[in-house]
Symmetry: C2
Subunit: 377 residues, 2 copies
């Protein structure tokens, strides 16, 4: 199965200082370097950006959300359009999640059983049921390069016995997803390691998941409110179990500290709405920390968002202008903050890859957090 996989990981270098991996991920829609940050295009668009703009920032893969596209406009419509790549005019790689996380986080009245999850749509309240088979069918219709198994995203504060049951159900769902997945020549199915904050359950989940010999593995159920140290500990438990020749994807992580610490613990792929969501709220990530440009203090600040940044927004506009746009509800304001934040994280990952090659990732981490504004985070 591995040799036939449409997605292959090529290990390039292991940082002698940190053990972090630099590699290349080969997909049917292009190859790109890892560790990589994947911008999120929930509804078949990275919010406020064109595909060309996302690409110009150096992004080679984006994530789209199965739940949202299933609800609107419908996966059948996207299949009819020729698949998600064509529908949204993004010729590079795409990863879709299973829809499970959104069902768990967006739906109030969800009911989980062995068969799947029943929930009410966040758009019109209509009743739906997501099963492992349906999660695969929808993702097959969308046609992403990397697709995810349906898993149960249990609350990390649940007790051990609940989490254990949830890990076991997630494994049974992986079995069903794997059986349902037929388009193996063009789409790579990733399994998801769960287990909350319990080391032994994480170990169990990782070992059982890799027994499926899949083209890649994700770690889910982290960065959901638990203390950072617990997350780092779980990564330290899980990644040594995962095979070296497969990519490792830490789901839903996008703050600079989590990205760098994740890479140090062997992670290759990340996604998060943080840069786009922060941007739309008028906050940007800069070399000097977070900056809420909508604040009055920047009303007459005629310097760029980040004096050390070379992105389109920083080369052409001032904080005063961007603040004006945001205060006046102008779309260009959100475009510029989104642009800058995506550039910031994609550029951060590029620097991380270079630091890996120089065997200096721990030094890079220390340097990054020595910058005013980031130390606190």
């Amino acid at each position: 199965m591995t040799t036939d996989s449409p997605v292959k990981y090529e290990l390039i270098h292991v940082c002698k200082q940190s053990g972090a991996r630099r590699g290349i991920l080969h997909t049917p829609h292009g190859s790109f370097e890892t560790p990589v940050f994947m911008p999120v295009g929930t509804q078949a668009t990275v919010k406020a950006m064109t595909p060309e703009e996302v690409s110009s920032l150096g992004a080679e893969i984006i994530l789209a959300n199965t739940y949202h596209l299933w609800m609107r406009p419908g996966h059948d419509l996207i299949k009819e359009a020729g698949g998600l790549h064509k529908f949204m005019n993004w010729p590079k790689a795409i990863l879709t999640d299973s829809g499970g996380f959104q069902v768990f986080s967006l739906s109030d009245a969800r009911r989980i059983d062995e068969e799947g999850v029943k929930f009410n749509s966040h758009i019109d309240g209509s009743l739906h049921k997501l099963t492992p088979e349906l999660a695969i069918d929808i993702q097959t219709a969308l046609g992403a390069d990397i697709i995810m198994q349906l898993d149960e995203c249990a609350d990390w504060q649940k007790d051990r016995s609940y989490i254990k049951g949830s890990v076991e159900r997630t494994l049974r769902w992986l079995e069903r997803c794997s059986k349902q997945h037929e388009n193996t020549a063009q789409q790579a199915l990733f399994g998801i390691v769960q287990g909350g904050v319990y080391e032994d359950l994480r170990r169990l989940s990782a070992k059982e998941t890799i027994s499926f010999n899949l083209p890649g593995y994700a770690i889910g159920g982290l960065s959901v409110g638990e203390p950072a140290d617990l997350m780092y500990k779980m990564l330290e438990v899980v990644t040594p179990i995962l095979p070296e020749d497969k990519p490792r994807y830490l789901m839903g992580v996008g703050s600079p500290d989590y990205l760098i610490e994740g890479v140090i613990r062997g992670i290759d792929m990340f996604d998060c709405v943080l840069p786009t969501r922060l941007g739309r709220n008028g906050t940007v990530m800069t070399s000097e920390g977070r900056l809420t440009v909508r604040n009055a203090t920047y009303a007459r600040d005629f310097t760029p968002l980040d004096p050390n940044c070379s992105c389109y927004a920083c080369r052409n506009y001032t904080r005063a202008y961007i603040r004006h746009l945001i205060k006046a509800n102008e779309i260009l304001g959100l475009r510029l903050t989104t642009w800058h934040n995506l550039h910031f994280l994609i550029n951060l990952m590029s620097q991380v890859r270079e630091a890996i090659s120089r065997n200096e990732l721990l030094d890079y981490r220390d340097h990054f957090f020595s910058q005013a504004g980031w130390a606190k985070e």
Copy 2:
């Protein structure tokens, strides 16, 4: 004064079939061909677009609204930023209106007297007074290439005696604007012909206004709800009075029929929020008429907005995708419809200019309105 004017009109050709003019307008921020459509950037941004995008569509001049910029972020702030061109990163020509039209249209509790207009801000209700002198002072601070006199935009349905008083007041205000205007080397002041739908008052207004020997003249108080025939009649009365060596600007006009008919009656410049506002409402102008892409009928329509269009939106996206974006409240949807509509009008004016050079503008008009969908308008 004319010879020193920073804005000069160069007549290139008069259409033998229609009498329409083709020319070049020279400004401190570039020269461009007329007749021209000016996209509106009310709050120092053409809504949803970057300056580079607006420029890539062929726009050489945009309009910004004095009233809005005065209220937010304030003309003093923009002056401190180095002027409007620099503040908004638009290196080409800018025209600012006087603020009068917005005061008349946005403010409920306005009171007009000889001194000026008192009104409450639409943002916070605060009381302000706009005078001819202040309209010039604000526009001087903004630094646009073309600035407008404060005029009274009287309701076209008012009786003759009211409109006559309004024309006379507008002339007295022009006198005061002209006196207040000192930056004559870099900013050209245009007078505005008023007179409602009364031919003799339009004639009176035109004759008195041109006695100021200004670098350009606008026609105001039209396209405000009066029948199209009445508007055309007023243009036919006014433009023969205006000097041939000065540009003529018909304010607030942007529908294809008004543009073409205006050019035929000797107009050189137009502005309107129509393309950007329509776009944000999910409606586009196409070679086959208006199309409301947000309608359900386009849900599975995988053709471009306009099959005969070569703009970025039409080259890369389908009606189905753009409808999905609009239904899902995605910013990219508004960007694409805005882009297309601006391209449509700017391209229309390019075709109009070519038709003038070929002495075939009446034929072009007939051809345009023979297209399905436009005949009705």
